[in-house]
C-alpha cells in the first residue's frame, strides 16, 4: 500500500535566480503559475522520512488558467544528500536525472488534474537524507509534448512511496 511521504505546497517553495514560476492566488488558493513558453522551476526541501521503502512517485496537482485542449508536461528531480557525502552544498547542486510525465489537460480551464510521475531516478534517496525536490513544467517540450496554451497553476505535489 502506498504511503504519503511529503506534501509540497506553493507557500513553502523556494526558487532559482531565474526562470521560476510566479506565486499567485487563484480564487484564494495559493498556486505557482508556470509559464507556457519557458521552462520554470521551483524547489522544496525536506528530510527523507524514516521507513521510506520501495518505488516513489510524485503526484502533481494542477489546473490550467486558459487551456481547454492539449497536453501539459511536468518534470521532477531529486537531490538526496546523505551524511558524509562529498558534496559542497554552498557551491554545488546534484539533482538526479529528471523524471517526466505528461497528460491531456481537462476540457474546462480550472478543472483539477493529478499526474503521477514515477521517480525512477531518485538519487538513491534514503531515510534521513537532506532532500531537495525540483518541479518544473517542460514548456519547451524537451521530454515530450507540452502544447497546452497559457499558464499551468501548480496547486501542490504529493510524494508517495511503496507504489
Amino acid at each position: 500500500m502506498a504511503n504519503t511521504r511529503a506534501e509540497l505546497f506553493p507557500e513553502s517553495a523556494h526558487f532559482p535566480s531565474s526562470n521560476f514560476p510566479q506565486v499567485v492566488t487563484v480564487n484564494a488558493r495559493p498556486a505557482l503559475a508556470y509559464d507556457a513558453s519557458t521552462d520554470e522551476t521551483a524547489y522544496w526541501t525536506a528530510f527523507a522520512p524514516q521507513g521510506l521503502t520501495g518505488t516513489m512517485n510524485a503526484t502533481v496537482t494542477y489546473i490550467m488558467a486558459s487551456a481547454t485542449s492539449g497536453s501539459a508536461r511536468w518534470g521532477v528531480q531529486v537531490e538526496a544528500v546523505t551524511d558524509g557525502d562529498a558534496l559542497d552544498l554552498d557551491a554545488t547542486t546534484s539533482f538526479d536525472t529528471a523524471n517526466t510525465g505528461g497528460a491531456t489537460v481537462p476540457g474546462t480551464a480550472g478543472y483539477i488534474d493529478q499526474l503521477a510521475i514515477t521517480l525512477t531516478n531518485a538519487d538513491s534517496i534514503a531515510a534521513g537524507d537532506y532532500v531537495r525536490f525540483a518541479v518544473y513544467r517542460d514548456a519547451d517540450g524537451t521530454s515530450g509534448t507540452d502544447d497546452a496554451t497559457g499558464d499551468a497553476y501548480l496547486l501542490g505535489v504529493e510524494f508517495r512511496d511503496g507504489v
Binding site: A33, D35, A36, S37, T38, A65, S66, A67, T68, S69, G70, T108, A109, G110, D146, D147, A148, T149, G150, D151
Partner: protein
C-alpha cells in the same frame, strides 16, 4: 514593412499567453496553433501596411509618425474587440 523577427514573434506569443492566463480567459487552441495564428496576423499587418496608410486621411497620413498611426490602430482594435482593455 518587414515582418517581425522570430524572437519578437516568440515574445508576442508568450505575452499573449500570459495575458489570457491573467484574465483566466479560456483558449480552445494549443500553443502551436496559437503561434501560427499570431504569425499570420503579423504577416497580414506587413502585407496591408500600404492600404492601412492609404485609408488615413490627410493631414494625418503625412503628419503622424508610423508609431503614432500604429498606436491609433491599436486603440481602435482594443476598443472594438478586446474586453478588459
Amino acid at each position: 514593412m518587414a515582418i517581425l523577427s522570430d524572437a519578437d514573434r516568440r515574445d508576442l506569443w508568450a505575452q499573449y499567453m500570459r495575458d489570457i492566463s491573467d484574465l483566466r480567459e479560456p483558449c480552445a487552441i494549443n500553443k502551436t496553433d496559437l503561434r501560427a495564428a499570431l504569425d499570420a496576423m503579423d504577416q497580414w499587418v506587413s502585407d496591408n501596411q500600404a492600404s492601412f496608410n492609404a485609408a488615413i486621411p490627410l493631414p494625418a497620413r503625412t503628419a503622424l509618425t508610423s508609431s503614432q498611426k500604429a498606436r491609433g490602430l491599436m486603440l481602435v482594435i482594443s476598443k472594438r474587440f478586446v474586453k478588459g482593455v
